[in-house]
Symmetry: C2
Subunit: 365 residues, 2 copies
């Protein structure tokens, strides 16, 4: 491997282990598995899921659905339908089983009017996170949407979907379970009410923290975590994984060493890592931790070493002198990301430890 | 203009005005102007500088120098030289006047050994920001570097360079001036000491806040601001510009409206705006402000309207009901970015108000 610029390295073995483990969890709990591909954004990684028998996915935009439609024929866009992309919706709906999210009558009416092919709809429910979705007990609006769907030839109601994004603010199994149980309880209220009229309806659920940690998914039908495929320091902080499960690092050239300040400057900053940060133990806000290099990839984090600040292309690393003296200008240093989804999305590239570049989503212009 | 996905709009008139104003300031103060192109990252915008007679630029990576070398023959990479890219350094040095930054003997020795063509060197000085650079009074190390440069055929000493990035933490002319004067005072100490031996040496300086606000650049020779070309909400907060000078917005499709919560959800999130935020007046941390749409582009910000949170693809907008009712699903909403450099770098695209897509840097793989 000849790394000369900031490069995202993917440990294929760890990644496949993460996939296998999550799939096993879903099978054990009799949950249907619809992994979210917004984290890895790669057809090559997608293929590793396919090899294990996974047959349906979620993505975060219609452009991303377009990219993965070369490989998958059952795709959910887990984002409120963007009616301005109706041409792309029709293109996809004519070729694959396309599922969209709705939470308003305006969107439904537009789709009912403009669709040329059948699509499948989830109604987005707000079960406590308050980002998007209809309040779980706003039955009046849900009734109206269901009525509209029933009367439109190309609209097929599949079920309800929620995202418990508030588990991201938790730390430890107890907190995650608490948020998960509260949200799940509200979410299954909806199922109880509508199941008699729609016996086939399903509940789609699943952020990475609860999918990794919690054991009770009674009444839930489908799980769609995404981040678990690579994990990151945030997920370690939450308790979803250990460092040995983080499957990506940002490999960065060392461009300067300031022994007097206990600092290393790397080529690798906000445009690579993103500006996501985390309040990490006694270190304050950090933008990444430093992984020890091994002959096969990387090992545990180096103690007391972290990315203390970043600007557009610079990363500033704090490190104890005993570790710092091991580095010289021109070396490559590995950073565990705070948020792997944003790292990969910023970089739009992944390289395996064998030096293979993976096929990546690059957006539609 | 047919916008259907998050799109960065550039107001060509405002942008050209920003360029003209900064160039006039430099001329008035008898400063050489070397604009930093890391903000706009576009050959087309670069051409607007060329039309005004600008002849040299700064960029933040060797890859970006490669992109702009199609158009410019005097380029400074204002980032500690990454010796791992020696092949690209040699390629550029053979074609253009290439200037690099050094702050360590290791880098110098490597360059002296491997360069095939002459390059120009600035020694990076830390005048108070403490990100990179040699402490302004660390004369012992500076002496050694100068000695090494003198004895190497392909190394030519040009002068000293610093970045007063700490002006970004200021608010108002008084604070900016205070930081600027303190840093400048330390910086010109270096000039005073070395000018007798290097009568042609120059001092290169200039972050956007001080370049926009301060009037005293005595003893400084070259100014290299970057952000001023587009400005952003951070610069309004600092006092570098008014809202009428912000030359870019992120145009985002409205995908959901929650009247009960006073919220609009747009397609436009962290992968578009970046996660940079700002503590804005009584609103707490914001990720952008909302610009009023006009027939010609955009006007002032809508009062009490702001991006309150973002996730990967979602932006959540808080807005008063009287404004909120003007929007419907499928509309386009304009967001003033907190940080235009990261917005443009994330999006890798710019569209003028006439709907023209500009040529953009896309990175080297």
């Amino acid at each position: 491997m000849n790394i000369i610029r900031p490069t995202v390295l993917l440990d294929e073995f760890k990644c496949k282990e993460n996939i296998r483990k999550m799939q096993t969890r879903c099978m054990d709990m009799q949950l249907s598995f619809r992994p979210h591909f917004k984290t890895h954004q790669s057809q090559d990684v997608g293929y590793w899921f396919k090899e294990l028998g996974v047959s349906k996915i979620a993505v975060s935009s219609l452009s991303m659905a377009h990219y993965f439609s070369a490989q998958w024929d059952d795709i959910l866009v887990a984002f409120p339908a963007n009616i301005l992309e109706i041409d792309l919706i029709n293109d996809l709906a004519g070729r694959i089983r396309l599922s969209l999210l709705v939470e308003s009558m305006d969107t439904l009416e537009f789709l009912a009017d403009k669709l040329l092919f059948p699509i499948h709809l989830f109604i987005k429910i707000d079960a406590g996170y308050h980002r998007t979705g209809i309040r779980f007990d706003h039955f009046n609006l849900i009734d109206k949407l269901l009525e509209k769907i029933k009367n439109s030839g190309n609209l097929n109601f599949t079920g309800f979907l929620t995202h418990s994004g508030d588990t991201y603010r938790c730390s430890g199994k107890h907190e995650v379970d608490h948020v998960h149980q509260a949200n799940k309880k509200r979410f299954i209220e909806v199922k109880k009410r509508y199941l008699p009229h729609y016996p086939d309806l399903i509940l789609s659920y699943g952020d990475t923290p609860s999918a990794s940690i919690s054991d009770d998914f009674e009444h839930i039908d489908e799980l769609r975590p995404g981040n678990f495929v690579c994990y990151d320091v945030t997920q370690v902080h939450i308790g979803s994984c250990g460092f040995n499960q983080i499957a990506v690092v940002l490999a960065c050239p060392v461009v300067s060493i300031h022994k007097d300040r206990g600092e290393i400057i790397v080529y690798g900053g906000a445009i690579h890592l993103s500006r996501d940060f985390l309040n990490w133990r006694d270190k304050g806000n950090i933008f990444g931790l430093i992984a020890a290099k091994t002959t096969k990839g990387w090992g545990p984090p180096i103690e007391n070493a972290y990315v203390s600040s970043i600007s557009q292309e610079h990363g500033k690393i704090k490190m104890e002198e005993s570790e710092l003296i091991k580095y010289k200008v021109g070396d490559i240093l590995y950073i565990y990301p705070v948020h792997s989804c944003l790292l990969i999305s910023s970089m739009r590239s992944l390289m395996t430890l064998k030096g293979e570049k993976l096929n990546m989503y690059e957006g539609l212009s």
